[in-house]
């Protein structure tokens, strides 16, 4: 989480750089923990483990994106409803003025 900390709002580019940095740190931490606990016997197992970490990271990102998309769709529906309501109100006000 410290990787994403900033006083100012990060730009898209800065956010992407920090995400890559976050992933690299995560990978290093995972490999270190695995190495200390004798998870892998050789290089092949180490590469497989690293690949699994990549896959899990990508999967989590995708799930997150899907959840965000769902939230965005819900909000967009509400925006539409709200705009419709205000349009009707403006139209009615205009009609009242005409009278």
């Amino acid at each position: 989480m410290i990787v994403f900390c900033s006083r100012k709002t990060l730009s898209d580019r800065q956010e992407q750089v920090r995400q890559i940095l976050h992933f690299i740190l995560l990978e290093i931490a995972m490999v270190y923990i695995g190495w200390m606990n004798h998870f892998f016997a050789g290089t092949k197992e180490l590469i497989a483990f690293m690949l699994v970490v990549v896959l899990v990271y990508v999967f989590v990102r995708l799930v997150n994106y899907q959840m965000d998309k769902k939230a965005a769709d819900e909000l967009n529906l509400k925006f539409k409803e709200r705009r419709k309501k205000s349009e009707v109100a403006t139209w009615e006000d205009g009609r009242k003025d005409m009278r």
Binding site: D12, Q16, E74, L75
Partner: protein
């Protein structure tokens, strides 16, 4: 029905649901607006705020000119290098307000904090899209794009009348239940109605409670 809804109904020519009394006073007396209602809710606050806004307005500086702006005109408020600005449909006005001051002033309206330096008007959002970086991008009615931080999306949902309980609070409550249970404080099934949890969350809590009860019985 709130006083705001009653007034709307009256304006639309329906039955008179709220009585409006206007009293003319001499010029030497102070003008006063008294609102007599059964309850004080968000809509009443909105009404009071809009009256205050119409009286005061916000000062926007454009070069040497000072413009009076209403809250409805403002798309968003941003602070850039310690200078604050009101962004309207086509114009940008400088302001002397601090971000927290504007946030405090606009909290009862449709404004919400969108990021560390932006307070955005939810009524001016055309649509919102998620991005892979975990943030949201709001496209405004003037096609301008504003980034909405993930942490503030809950505020937006709340403003739009969405659920007030986010996942974080649900987890916190779940942990609370587990803690209470493990400490042996609860001898009966959980009734956490006092937390005013929505029905579906309450069901999840009860399921969780039974699950931990089962676990305790299996591994005493």
């Amino acid at each position: 029905m709130s006083i705001f809804q009653k007034m709307k109904k009256r304006n639309k020519g329906g039955n008179i649901a709220v009585k409006v009394t206007i009293e003319e006073i001499p010029i030497d007396q102070e003008e006063k607006l008294i609102l007599r209602c059964h309850g004080f809710n968000e809509e009443t606050l909105k009404l009071v705020q809009s009256i205050k806004d119409s009286k005061n307005g916000l000062a926007g500086y454009l070069g040497d000119e000072i413009h009076r702006l209403s809250m409805d005109e403002i798309f968003y408020f941003e602070v850039v290098d310690n200078h604050s600005f009101f962004y309207c449909r086509d114009q940008v006005y400088e302001s002397h307000l601090k971000l927290y001051e504007f946030e405090k002033m606009s909290c009862t309206g449709s404004f919400f904090r969108a990021s560390k330096s932006v307070v955005l008007n939810a009524d001016k959002i055309d649509y919102i899209t998620p991005s892979f970086s975990g943030r949201f991008e709001a496209v405004l009615l003037n096609q301008e794009k504003i980034t909405v931080s993930r942490q503030y999306v809950t505020d937006l949902k709340r403003k739009m009348g969405g659920r007030k309980w986010n996942l974080k609070s649900l987890y916190t409550n779940s942990y609370l239940c587990i803690l209470l249970f493990w400490r042996g404080l609860l001898q009966q099934p959980l009734y956490i109605v006092r937390f005013s949890i929505q029905k579906r969350y309450l069901m999840q809590m009860i399921e969780l409670d039974f699950f931990y009860r089962h676990l305790l019985q299996t591994f005493p």
